[in-house]
Each structure stands twice: as C-alpha cells, then as structure tokens.
C-alpha cells in the first residue's frame, strides 16, 4: 500500500520539478549510465526492502513470543486505544510548542546572521552546525547538568538564597520542552538561512528610508516575505521533534513519553514487533505527507521572493 504511495509521490515531485527530464524507462536509463546499478541496488536492498518488510509485518499475526505471516488490521485497530492516543497527543503538543519556540528565537537570529559580514557569518554557521550535529545524548546530558542539583541553576539559586534547599529541575515537562526547543533552534536556523540570504536588501532599505523603524520593517516586510518558508520550517521542525528519543527519556517524566519511545518500547521492550511496525508505518505516512507539503510550500515561496 505504502509502496504505491511512495512511488506516486516520487513521480509527482520529479515531473513537477524539471521540464528537462526525459523518460526513457528504467532499463533504458540504466543503459545510458551503467554505474547507476550500484546506487539502485544499495538503496533498493538496504532502504526499500526493509521498508517493504516492515509494512508487511505491520499486518502480521502476533503470537506469544514472536509473529507469523498474516493479514490483519489488529495492530492498526490499536491506534484507537488510550495508550496510543495519549502519547500521540503528548508528542504533538511537545512537537508543536518546541517548533514554535525554536522559530521565535531562530527567525530574528538567522535574519541577523545572514546580514553579518562574511567572516562572522561563517563563524556563526560553524557554531550552529556544531550544536546541531551534537548527539541528542550529549545535549540531553549537558542540559541535565545545567538543570541538576549539584552543578546547575538550582545550586546557583541556593547560593543566592532564593531557595532553602535546591531541588533538581528535571525530569519535568518544562525540562523536556526546553531540551526539545534547544535541539530545534540550530536546525531551524539552517532551514531559514537560505531564504534569509535571498531576501532583497533593497526592500528593507527602502522601507527604512521611507521612515519605517527597523522593528516595523521586520514585522511588515521581512516576516510576510518569509511566510511560506516559516510554515515549511515549522512542519520540518515538527516532524524532527516527533522523532525525539533521548531527550524525553532523560529530561521528561514517564507521562512525557513520545512517539519514538513508544515504538522502541513496543519493538525492543515488549517484543511486539507488528504493533511497532504499524506505528512506524503510520508515522512514516504522516511524515511523507508533511514533507511533500513543505516541498510544495518552498517551491511556491521561491517564485514569490524572486518576483
């Protein structure tokens, strides 16, 4: 089922994108460039086949210890159970809030650094990349050090006499939300950066010559021009946060369990691979749909800025 969806999406993206593309068929194409067999096999065997098996197993029949071939919708039916709905709702809330917070910080930040001189711009980008690529494990750990009793803000509060006995600030709802937002900001900066460098400087300068304050220019000229990019960025961040795994484990409470943890718990902890597969298939379809939406948004935005 999902194979078909994926193929059609591939087709629609490809045809929309490029009028230059010709269609000699797969074999004809490979004949033109025989080296393409290698990437075809690699992506086919180690990406496409695993997904096809996963989709098949999401319909399999679960036995007490493992699963056997079958075609049933039992696992998909469990989507209506509270176990599933509660955690999906929790994940959606966290993802939406963390993406929103990240954008509020990242939009002005990216706008400013895109106007830096080249050298400072490069240094800022190196900084952003370093934070972005840091393992979720390392970031979650670092933040737990800051929020912890012996080393971080709570002990500082105690030292200044704001509280009598310092308590650790994690695990908590706020700590998890802070961790997710922290992790999202560098990603948001990289998504917004190309659009910010493309913004026409003359427009903002013109607005300011006509007497608009920089703040007003930002809200009335810059933000509207970035509208679709912002929406696309929000969706990408949302998908990215939905996949968070270590942050909610380390900084969140048990009730803050998110989608990825649920999948891992079903597959590894409880050995219910078919249900985990059904969850993953659902998650994948939602992600693909949202990603296509962003492709479409960004494409229409590009023409908007250029004109």
């Amino acid at each position: 089922m999902s194979d078909a969806t994926e193929n059609t999406t591939v087709a629609s993206v490809a045809t929309e994108d490029d009028e230059l593309v010709t269609k000699p068929g797969i074999l004809g194409s490979i004949k033109r460039f025989p080296f393409s067999i290698y990437p075809t096999l690699m992506l086919g065997i180690f990406f496409f086949i695993p997904f096809a098996i996963m989709i098949a197993i999401s319909f399999a029949h679960r036995t007490t210890s493992t699963y056997e071939v079958g075609f049933e919708f039992t696992h998909y039916a469990r989507f209506f159970s509270p176990l599933f709905t509660t955690h999906v709702w929790v994940s959606v809330q966290f993802a939406a809030l963390a993406s929103l917070f990240a954008l509020v910080v990242a939009v002005p930040f990216t706008f400013f650094i895109s106007r830096f001189r080249r050298k400072s711009q490069v240094v800022s980008l190196v900084f952003v990349l370093c934070v972005l690529t840091l393992s979720e494990v390392i970031v979650a750990y670092s933040l737990s050090v800051v929020l912890g009793r012996q080393s971080g803000l709570p002990s500082l509060m105690e030292a200044f006499g704001f509280v009598d006995r310092a308590k650790s600030w994690y695990p908590s709802y706020g700590a998890n939300l802070f961790g997710l937002s922290y992790f999202n900001i560098p990603f948001a900066v990289l998504i917004l950066y190309p659009a910010c460098t493309r913004l026409d400087r003359e427009l903002t300068e013109a607005a300011q010559t006509l007497g608009a304050s920089p703040v007003r220019t930002f809200f009335t000229i810059v933000l509207p021009m970035l509208e679709k990019t912002l929406l696309a960025a929000f969706i990408l961040l949302f998908v990215f946060t939905m996949g968070a795994f270590v942050t909610p484990i380390w900084l969140g409470r048990p009730e803050d369990t998110m989608m990825a943890q649920l999948i891992a718990d079903q597959a590894l902890g409880r050995g219910n691979v078919p249900f985990a597969a059904a969850l993953a298939v659902f998650f994948m379809l939602v992600t693909l749909a949202l990603s296509l939406l962003t492709v479409w948004l960004r494409r229409s935005d590009k023409t908007g800025v250029a004109s």
Partner: protein
C-alpha cells in the same frame, strides 16, 4: 536602542547555547567521581580513561570504524546518483535522487525499526556492518545534496572547451569533473562522519547490546550511575564537531554549501 537590543539578543542566544557545553567541560575536570560545577579540584584524569577503560575504548573504536566506513559508503552511493542526474537528466535519475532524499526526511526511529526487522529476518543481528550500512543509507542525503551543488556549479563552457581539446567521457570525468566536485565530496563525507559518530537510535536498535557505540555507551552509563568520563566524552564530541566544521569552513564555501545565495550568480 535597536542596536543594543539586537546585540543583547544575539549575546543571549549564543550564551544559552554555549553555557551548557562550558559547564560540561567544567564538570569533566572534577577530581573526584562527582558532578560538581564549579569543579571540586582540577584534574584531567578522566580523559585518558576513554582510551584505557575497555568499555569506552571499545565503544570509541566501534564509533570511529562505523563513521569512517559509513562516510565512504554514503559518498559512493551519492556520487553516481548526482552525476547521473546532472549528466543525463532522465526521469529514473530524478527518481533515484528523490529516493536518496527520503531516508533523511524520515524520523530515524523508522529507519532503525525497518533495518532491525530486515536483519532479524536475515538472522544476522548485532553486527557492526549492519550499523555501517544503515548509517551509509540514512545519511546519503547529505553528500547527495552537496555533490549535486558541486556539479551544478561547473561551468558548461569549461566542459565544452575540454571536449574541443579532445577529451572523451572518461577523461572529462577524471581530469575536469572529479577534481571540481572533490571538495564537495569531502564536505559531504565530513558531515556524514560527524552525524554518524553522534547518531544514537539506529546504533541502539541495530547494536543489540553486542555492538556498542559511544552515544549508546554514554546513555547506558548515565543510567547505571554517573562517572566524569561521560563529561569527558561529551567534550570530545564537541571538539570533534568544532574541528571538522572549522576545517570545512576553511577549505570550502560553507555559506554556499548551506544554500546561501550570492548576488553574483
């Protein structure tokens, strides 16, 4: 006034991002096995333990092996796809390109589960090479996008000139195209290297407690009781990222790699 607000804002953001990392660096210097900041006594003795203690040294070797090989794998898959699309512009090349973009767009837990099921069906679990293959495919998107950028930046006139001078297809590739995309290949490789070193969930699913990578070891050590070696490992990760991205910035056009638009074009 506006200028002050702008500087205050930028300083705050930079501080919020740097402070946790600096505090971790401080914690890693604690003399005793405690997690104090400011550190209680100064000592560098936790750093050598990464290389000496068996579980950390093993995890480090695994992580480095996986990252080095996954990088090569990802670039080797990305280069033919990018070249195919650039040279031939056929529908199938475009489809391969889009297929190469998909893994990275999906949350890693999905790839992790798909690969886990695949290898358990094959009866071959917990192997190092499983993680290499998974990282190579999952991260193929980065070199793919970067190499494509590199190919797009090659001047058509240059190729025309080489052809008039009698270069055939192979010669054209080895003496003109390959040297011109090499910096982009290296940048793509470096991105995969760093991301693979830092990747947690795929390594956790596929390692099955047999093949353990550094991030997996960090989380399991955190759960079983704190040791300052964790902070030392964190500092090592931060330094790795700083060194590699500074090198990329030094030797290639970082703003362009990240999609900046320069008015000259």
């Amino acid at each position: 006034m506006i200028k002050i607000a702008k500087i205050a804002f930028l300083t705050t953001v930079f501080t919020i991002f740097t402070a946790p990392l600096l505090i971790v660096a401080g914690v890693s210097l604690n003399e005793k096995k405690r997690m104090f900041f400011p550190p209680d006594g100064l000592s560098l003795r936790w750093y050598p333990e990464i290389f000496e203690e068996a579980k950390w040294a093993g995890a480090l070797t695994n992580s480095v092996t996986i990252a080095v090989c996954a990088g090569l794998l990802a670039v080797s898959i990305a280069l033919p796809i990018a070249y195919f699309l650039w040279r031939h512009r056929v529908f199938y090349a475009k489809a391969l390109f889009v297929l190469g973009l998909v893994p990275f767009a999906l949350p890693p837990v999905i790839t992790a589960l798909g690969m886990l099921i695949f290898w358990s069906q094959a009866g071959y679990v917990g192997k190092l090479e499983n993680i290499i293959l998974a990282h190579g495919v999952f991260l193929v998107t980065l070199p793919l996008v970067m190499i494509s950028l590199g190919l797009e930046s090659i001047d058509e006139e240059l190729l025309e000139a080489a052809r008039t001078m009698g270069a055939d297809g192979r010669k054209l590739f080895t003496s003109v195209i390959f040297p011109m995309v090499l910096p982009y290949m290296i940048a793509g490789y470096a991105f995969v290297l760093v991301l693979s070193m830092n990747e947690y969930i795929i390594s956790f699913f596929l390692g099955q407690h047999v093949t353990i990578t550094l991030p997996v070891q960090v989380l399991s050590s955190l759960r079983s009781g704190y040791t300052p070696v964790i902070a030392a490992v964190a500092v090592m990760f931060i330094l790795l990222a700083v060194v590699i991205f500074s090198l990329i910035a030094r030797f290639s056009d970082l703003p362009k790699l990240l999609g900046a638009w320069s008015p000259k074009e």
